[in-house]
Subunit: 267 residues, 2 copies
C-alpha cells in the first residue's frame, strides 16, 4: 500500500500548508489532522504542547505515513525533538523551511519574526536563522490576538488594522527587510501586515517554503494518479468543513471526527 504524507495542526490554520503540498505533489496521498478540540496551542505551556504533539504524531503514525509534516508553528518550535524519539520517519516542521527562506530573502540581515507566545518564547526561529546567518539581527513579537481575529473572519476589519498597528509599530522602527509570518493563520492577515510594514519588507510564509523543502525527501512526481485526501478533526466537523472548503476552494470529501482520548488509551 502506498504510504501517505501526514500533516497535523492545532486546527484549521495548517490547511494553508496542506494546500501548498497538495498543489506541489498532486499524486501523493495526504492525511490531515486538526486538533480542533484543544485549539489553540499558542498560549499553552511547552509541556502541554509536547504532550499534545506526541499524541497527534502517534495518531498519524498509526494511519501509516512515510513523512510527518508539523504544520503548527508552536508544535514545530517546541515539540520536534520529542516527536523524533518515537519514530524513524522524517519529521518536518515549519521553522527550518521558514528560516531558510528568510535567510535567502534578507539583504540587510535584519529579520522580524511574529508568532504565538509559544513560538516566540521558544526562540526557535532566531536559533534556526542564526545557524544560517550567525550575524543576523532578529526582532521577535508575539501577536496573541491575530488568531482570534482570523477565526472571527475579521481580516479586513478596522479593528484588525488597529491591532496589527499596535503589535508591529515598534518592529517597523527596526529597519528589517524580511518578516517571517510564524503562524499558519497570519498569511490571512498579510494585506494588513504588508500595509503597516511597507512594501520594502518581504513577508515569508512557511507554508510556501515547506514544499521546496519537502521535495528533497520525496523527489520528483512520477505517479500520474491523483492522490487521496483524508481529514481528521477532534471537534467541530461542520465548522472545519466550512472553513476548509473556503481556504482550499474545493470540496472536502472524506472527513472523520476522532475522539482523541480513545487514541490516548491505545498508547
Amino acid at each position: 500500500m502506498k504510504k501517505a504524507i501526514g500533516i497535523f495542526d492545532s486546527g484549521v490554520g495548517g490547511l494553508t500548508v496542506y494546500k501548498a503540498i497538495r498543489n506541489a505533489f498532486p499524486s501523493e496521498d495526504l492525511i490531515y489532522f486538526g486538533d480542533t478540540a484543544r485549539v489553540p496551542y499558542g498560549p499553552k505551556s511547552p509541556n502541554t504542547i509536547i504532550e499534545y504533539s506526541l499524541q497527534n504524531a502517534r495518531f498519524l503514525l498509526q494511519q501509516g505515513i512515510k513523512i510527518l509534516i508539523v504544520a503548527c508553528n508552536t508544535s514545530s518550535a517546541v515539540a520536534l525533538p520529542a516527536m523524533q524519539t518515537i519514530t524513524d520517519i522524517p519529521i518536518i516542521g515549519v521553522i527550518e523551511p521558514g528560516a531558510e527562506q528568510a535567510a535567502k530573502t534578507t539583504k540587510n540581515k535584519r529579520i522580524g519574526i511574529i508568532g504565538t507566545e509559544g513560538t516566540i518564547n521558544s526562540e526557535a526561529y532566531p536559533n534556526a536563522i542564526k545557524k544560517l546567518i550567525p550575524e543576523a539581527v532578529i526582532f521577535s513579537v508575539a501577536c496573541p490576538l491575530f488568531v482570534p481575529l482570523v477565526e472571527e473572519g475579521w481580516q479586513d476589519h478596522l479593528v484588525t488594522e488597529l491591532v496589527v498597528k499596535e503589535y508591529l509599530t515598534n518592529l517597523k522602527m527596526q529597519a528589517i527587510d524580511t518578516l517571517v509570518l510564524g503562524c499558519t493563520h497570519y498569511p490571512l492577515l498579510s494585506k494588513a501586515i504588508q500595509q503597516i510594514m511597507g512594501s520594502e519588507v518581504t513577508l515569508v510564509d512557511s507554508a510556501m517554503a515547506i514544499t521546496e523543502y519537502l521535495a528533497r525527501y520525496i523527489g520528483s512526481e512520477s505517479d500520474k494518479q491523483q492522490g487521496s485526501s483524508t481529514f481528521y478533526v477532534s471537534d467541530n466537523e461542520e465548522k472545519f468543513t466550512q472553513i476548509a472548503e473556503r481556504i482550499l476552494n474545493d470540496n472536502i470529501k472524506k472527513l472523520i471526527r476522532v475522539r482523541l482520548y480513545e487514541s490516548w488509551f491505545q498508547n
Copy 2:
C-alpha cells in the same frame, strides 16, 4: 473530614465566581479547578464540552466535595444534565442564578444576553428566563473576541471599545433594560459595555448572583474557622498564579498542576 465546595472553569475566568463565594462563605473549604490546558470552551462543540465537563466533575468528585459549582457559562449551558447523571450531590451552574437575577432586575421584560458561541447557541439563558417570565423578550449576541481581549489584558484599550461597539450596537437598539454578562470574563469589560449600552441598562453578573443561590444549599455560616483554598490547573501554573493573585488581591498558597489524562485513565 469537612467536605469542600468544588468549583471548575475552563480557565481563570471562574476566579470571579470563586472570589464571590470565598467572600460570602469564609469558613468553607474551596477547591478550584481551571482547565487551562484546554481553554477556551466557548467555540467548541456541545459533545466536546460535555466530555470535558464530565472529566472535570469526576476529578473534583474524587477530591471529596459536597457541592459542585460550574463557574463556566459554556459548561453550565450545555453539560449540567450530563454531570447530574454521575453524582447525587447538588450541581449549580451559573445560568439559573443569572436568569433569576435578570428576572428580578428587568422592568420592561426586554433582556439581552451576551456570551460565547457555545452559550448563545445552547439558548440556555433564554430558556431559563422564560421559565420565570414567559412573556420576556430576549436578545442574544455571541461575542467571541471578548475573551481573547481580556486574556491579552486590553480591558481599557481603544480596540476593545471598538469591538464592544461592533458587537453591541444592534443590541442597543432593542430597548432592553437588563443585560446578562453570560461569561465569567465579561465583568472585566463592564466599563466599556456599560458605556456603549448606557446607564439605563443594568448589567447582571452571574458570579454575584450565585452566592445568594448557594446560600440555600449550605445555610448560614456557623463555623468561625477560616476555610482552606486549593487550586488545581491543567496547564500554565505561573500564568494562572499571576492572573489569580491580581483578580483575588491575595496570595495563592496551594496550587497543583494535574495532567488531565491521568485522571481519564482512572475512569
